[in-house]
Amino acid sequence: MSEVLIKQIEKVYPNGFHAIHGIDVTIADGELLVLVGPSGCGKSTLLRMVAGLETVTRGEIRIGDQRVNELEPAKRNIAMVFQNYALYPHMSCYGNMAYGLRNRRTPKDEIERRVHEAARILEIEHLLERKPRQLSGGQRQRVAMGRAIVREPAAFLFDEPLSNLDAKLRVQMRLEIKRLQRKLGTTSIYVTHDQVEAMTLADRLVVMNEGVADQIGAPLDIYERPRTRFVAGFIGSPAMNFIPCTLAAGGRTARLDGAAELVLEKPIVSASQSRPAVLGVRPEQLGIDPQGTLGLYVELVEPLGAETLLHGKLDGGDTTLTVRIAGTPKVRPEDRLNLRAVPDQLHFFDAENGVRLE
């Protein structure tokens, strides 16, 4: 049990590519931290630096009380679950799980005990003698986690462990990972590009974009108060709608591109004078309302049963909007609707650098 400290970490590859631009985050003992971001944002690089598979260019990583920058992966007291599981194909599941312990010269009966204990927790005891290729995807996933558990490490590192599974199994394993992590209480870092996975698993979330941690915080805080336009668009599904607008001086009203005007409940105090901005409003914060000020020309209707997604264009502009409505409203393509946004759920971002305006 121990905390993981990531201090001012930077990564520059030999070819000059600057992958990570100084990230600071502390993962508390027993916490599950999720690194989320689009591909190429540096989240896997960061994880691999913690694992010791990539060198650290600048900054410091501490696991427990120990600086681990220069330590071999095996000496860092971590365990990693890989995207493709990386189970040794010629070894049985038992052999796969025991291999790390054998290399550490753990006594045989201790290995036996730990492997069976892990297998019992993961319910794979009957599979121990099989080879990985004889297992299904979900079973391989369990064996890969078993391999991590038996080491009783200070931290688990998960590198997109669920992306090779089909959708149904993914949801199931997601719950299981969460349950297991709670039960074992091991500090964990989890990398994913799937924001649903990130939201459901994380104690805290790091949203990464081009090597920078755009926002670090609890999932719901990030959902409710995204710090940048990038975070706002990345977290939440379907993605947030963005509408170019102009904030009036004093920040009490916003004039949208489509000529509609919104009166704000919470004035944007930083808008001392009129300025261009971007309004962000989530699809689920829009509702059909005959008195609404936003006109929508419906182009596509996606009924999902419990809810319906409407896609269309905002009146008087080219801005596309997605609206999420509970149930199955009687709306057809080419209809014209009036919408109303939940007033305290409007987000404004700087038109230039995308930073949240308050």
């Binding site: 694992a51 010791g52 598979l53 071999e72 992966p73 095996a74 971590i78 365990a79 990693m80 890989f82 995207q83 493709n84 990386a86 040794y88 194909p89 010629h90 291999y99 790390g100 290399n103 550490r104 290729r133 391999r147």
Partner: protein, 282 residues
């Protein structure tokens, strides 16, 4: 595309059977000839059915050798060939798997240069460099020895290249998982890479064993002592006997015997061999 037409099946089978016959007929004639007495083969008609001298011919060939050609018994020459072929096959695999491992998994200065130097030697088969190689071997005093027979043929760019290609297809995650599992370079090689290369090693072993067994020119050059003659050389020496008729029944018996070990190796390792050449799933 799978076609299911009866005439196509018939045609393809006829072609295949003709191919087999063309391949097998010379072997059959050699075998038949090796079971007849010498005089039978001097007559104009070539016998097509097994004679009655099988045991006499083979036991004479194996135990006492062929008069006039070389007096070494074939059994001893087969042993020589076996030693040479095994040393070449095992030595080549050993050296090339290690060099491929170094080239693929280690970052050292001039790594690619090393690879290209090894690769370029593909253009220099034994026959091209035979004189300088002979000079070196002679200076080292290795003429007429098993080391001299096998050592110069052991370095192999082909096998290094094949192992390199195979190692490049092994996912990096295995190495990373092994590093996290605390395996050093040697352990990773021994515990992970070697078992994964099993089928490739088998396929290469078959090819290299036959290559070593069939060596002709090199053993001819470095051996003058009949104690080190190999069986492939012996066949030629038997045909080229001065001042007498070649003993065809003995020559054919030798040829059949020389054919046997490669056949045994291929048949016994066939399953692994095919897997090694075709398997892509790791």
């Amino acid at each position: 595309m799978v076609e299911n037409r009866s005439w196509l099946t018939v045609v393809s089978h006829v072609v295949l059977i003709l191919g087999v016959l063309a391949m097998m007929l010379p072997v059959w004639i050699a075998f038949v000839a090796s079971t007849h007495a010498a005089e039978d083969l001097m007559s104009s008609r070539v016998p097509l059915w097994i004679g009655d001298q099988f045991l006499q011919n083979y036991s004479a060939a194996l135990s006492s050798g062929v008069k006039g050609a070389s007096s070494a018994p074939l059994a001893h020459m087969m042993l020589n060939s076996l030693i040479m072929a095994l040393s070449i096959a095992i030595g080549k695999i050993f050296i090339s798997i290690l060099s491929a491992y170094a080239i693929v998994y280690f970052r050292f200065p001039l790594r690619m240069t090393c690879f290209w130097i090894i690769f370029v030697t593909l253009m220099l088969p034994v026959e091209v460099r035979i004189l300088p190689t002979f000079q070196v071997v002679a200076n080292m005093g290795l003429l007429n020895s098993y080391v001299g027979l096998s050592l110069p043929l052991i370095a192999s760019a082909t096998a290094t290249f094949l192992f390199r290609q195979f190692f490049l297809t092994v996912p990096d995650e295995y190495l990373e998982a092994a590093r996290i599992d605390g395996a050093g370079p040697w352990q990773f090689f021994k515990d992970i890479l070697l078992p994964l290369s099993r089928t490739n090693i088998a396929a290469l072993f078959v090819i290299l064993f036959i290559y070593g067994w069939n060596q002709y020119l090199w053993p001819l050059l470095v051996t003058t002592d009949e104690h080190y003659y190999t069986i492939v050389m012996a066949i030629q020496r038997m045909v080229a006997v001065p001042d007498s008729e070649p003993l065809w029944h003995m020559i054919m018996a030798t040829a059949i015997l020389a054919m046997l070990p490669p056949v045994i190796v291929v048949v016994s390792m066939q399953k692994l061999f095919v897997k090694g050449l075709t398997e892509t799933e790791k």
